[in-house]
Symmetry: C2
Subunit: 470 residues, 2 copies
């Protein structure tokens, strides 16, 4: 007879205690194959529980294959091979690797945004509206490309503010630029397969990692003062080029119209060539109006346009968009349309209304003004360096590039600043292939999440920290 | 002299009207290369606008490369090649392809959930809390694997309810199962590269599409009444097998412990073998308790465990989780950790609290009860068919499988039902390779989003619609 001790005060139901006991006995070999279990009636009587309880335990053991019911005979331990070596690992909800986090007095991160200005109230209101609509459809899986309303809203926004020409059907919504670049990397494997992708050098390293992760050969192309050079692009065997024409990342060059036309001409010269235009921070321009997109002057369907809300709203809002030319759209529909959308319907609802109800435009205007103030403060504060530095990439984005007139290395300057608790971000690490002649030591100076006072004090401190290197 | 007509009542700023005019004139060739523009002073006087306004127009044209400033001389039209062929396409925010949507009187979709029970109030409350915390960190890019709190909450939930053993560091959060399967498909390309993946046949077709999309050879393996067959798995050269042991999709088989052990033994027989356990709907079991996971009895780090909130909460909540064995985790950290998380921080916050504040457990209990009622109603209603059908895969999930004793084909039965406005979903299309002997016509009968009354009426109508086929 099984001697099971039932704890009637346990939070575990009695049937589960019986089930656990018998399962353990089978696992450790105490109840061998074909052992006949007591009938449910006798076990129930023996344990002084209801027969229903034992029935439930046996049914669960049958479901999981530990015992078998033989009609008109009873329950037998099933053939279960090699159970004795199962040693369930102890529950180890351990802490992950500790990450040492140094806090700097001044952190000139080029990846920061001003997080104090997140439109909390609007977001709260819109998410409340979403829930109050009790629109059940919102909780079913939506369109794989993204909700139609959201695509229409983004299409209008891109047309009005970036000169992008597209139908909403050409737009694909995805959880951030990284995801969309993964999707694109898969897309390029269909149709006329693509083996090499040219990129600006220095570049957005994340895109480089994704392309090489998908086994594309990445060809780095040097920049001149108008952006990516065209001659080396012709000399390469690249089928696709990834560029940031509105504000080159990280240098900040605005690609002039002539170079844009040359780039489009390159794409037109052979079938299957594409240009990826990553318009990562074009919302922010502090002189005149935003530079119109390359996509808007593409008349032969060669430009893939990419953008996100990471800079304009917050990186935590994992929503990006990609505009495909019509021929690539057809390939997407044939091979990749089966992927479910990666953005929750609630988020799609909120962002749709954020745009269509006018909040987005107001938010952008506010942020432009705020960032322009910080930008101007930074440029002003940098005058302390006089002719020891030159500035590039100003008037747009959320960082500028500082080139030092110095024989010190970039790392020496970063280290000197670090000793005074100032965090700097070097240009060097943005190169895919390092330049032959070491360029002047250069720093990306982000200012988005610093106050104007901190910018002033930080640059003052920076000057004193590095002045011996200059 | 440029004759620009300024519309002072226009909503377009004056500087933009001047900029637009000059840009258009350069584009259509009326202002040729090296044409000298009027000085800002004389154009301002001529147009009766402030000099600042003209300065702004010229600066924008310089930024975009249409004109050049020659120091001490003035502004000249720049060399811009081939502009005349630019014909910006008309803004065509057209409607996408119309999708014809037939509404059926009774729709037995196996993909549905009961959308009337979405926890609106809780979701609203939690999203409000999230916004009220004004926690700015929440709007920065979080941990690429997902927030630590969310991973800890999911780890505890999986341990307690599914017997999964893991540390929170082994968990990766992603925007749905499709995304996680894409990530996994990339992961398998590192370390010991994997070329073929075995799958149950019939199977979850979406996984099949993703694996073949990543150029894996997919080997379909037939089922017996205990799930995937082991002998053909040994005979194949597969390195990875994708299974649904708790409730085989679509047949509903619960894999008994013996077969689970055999599967683990297969994985142990060669280095680099893995089992993907997709635990897609194991939350719902109406007899006894949920079947413990395969991952929980894996003592050699061979099982990759995959789950989502699509069935348990709603498909619109694009959140899934993947538990990697430690050796694969190391590969992930080395090669794929650079991918940003695909789930918004707000959603991660809400789901964390949904679990840790006890809402999830209450929601699951409520849904289990609700779905059990519908399930039992369906089984009861099906008695009208007497011995003309057999039922498989009952007592769990959100659909069951109906096999007809009939010489009619599956399609004939689906069509006969369709004529009476009853939507059925066939089993045939779930096969990767079609069985040699046509099986009995079989239907997946989903009931999650039907009322008990509708289930009863629907099955009654179904009986009369198809009885001539039986």
């Amino acid at each position: 007879m099984l001697t099971i001790s039932i704890d009637t005060h346990s939070s575990l139901p009695m049937y589960e205690q019986i089930y656990n006991y018998i399962k353990a006995e089978i696992r450790n070999g105490n109840l061998p194959y074909h052992y006949k279990l007591p009938s449910t009636r006798s076990l129930a009587a023996n344990l002084q529980v209801s027969r229903n309880t034992v029935d439930l335990s046996y049914a669960q053991l049958v479901s999981e294959g530990y015992i078998e019911a033989v009609p008109k005979s009873g329950y037998y331990v099933a053939m279960v091979s090699d159970l004795t070596h199962i040693k369930p690992k102890p529950s180890s909800v351990t802490k992950p690797f500790p990450i040492s986090k140094i806090t700097y007095r001044y952190d000139f991160s080029p990846f920061a945004i001003d997080i104090n200005t997140f439109p909390y109230n609007t977001w709260r209101k819109l998410s409340k509206n979403c829930m109050n609509e009790y629109n059940n459809d919102l909780f079913l899986l939506g369109n794989n490309q993204g909700d139609e309303n959201l695509r229409a809203a983004i299409g209008r926004y891109l047309h009005e503010s970036r000169g992008v020409n597209c139908s909403e059907d050409q737009i694909i919504i995805g959880a951030g630029a990284d995801y969309l670049l993964q999707l694109l990397s898969q897309l390029f494997q269909y149709g006329k397969p693509i083996s090499s992708i040219a990129m600006e050098n220095p570049a957005y390293r994340q895109a480089y990692k994704i392309f090489t992760g998908f086994h594309y050969r990445v060809i780095p192309i040097d920049l001149d003062h108008n952006g990516i050079r065209i001659q080396p692009l012709y000399e390469s065997d690249a089928d696709v080029v990834y560029v940031t024409p509105s504000h080159q990342y990280p240098i900040g060059i605005v690609m002039p119209i002539k170079r844009r036309m040359e780039l489009l001409q390159w794409a037109d010269k052979a079938p299957g060539r594409y240009i990826i235009e990553d318009d990562h921070d074009s919302e922010f321009r502090y002189k005149g109006k935003p530079i119109p997109s390359l996509q808007g002057i593409d008349s032969s369907g060669r430009v893939i346009y990419l953008g996100t809300f990471s800079r304009a709203v917050a990186p935590a809002i994992r929503v990006g968009y990609m505009v495909l030319p019509k021929n690539l759209l057809a390939v997407y529909k044939q091979y990749l349309y089966h992927y479910s959308s990666t953005v929750s319907r609630i988020d799609q609802y909120i962002i749709t209304h954020f745009i269509t109800d006018g909040y987005f435009e107001r938010h952008l205007n506010k942020m432009r003004k705020l960032y322009k103030g910080k930008h101007d403060q930074l440029v002003q504060a940098l005058k302390i360096f006089r002719d020891k530095i030159s500035i590039e990439g100003e008037n747009g984005g959320l960082h500028l590039v500082l080139r030092f007139l110095s024989n010190a290395s970039e790392q020496e300057i970063i280290d000197a600043a670090g000793k005074k608790s100032i965090k700097l971000y070097g240009l060097w690490e943005h190169y895919i292939t390092k330049p032959e002649l070491p360029a002047a030591p250069s720093i990306l100076l982000g200012y988005a999440n610093m106050t104007e006072k901190n910018i002033q004090d930080g640059i003052h401190a920076l000057y004193h920290a590095v002045k011996d290197c200059l």
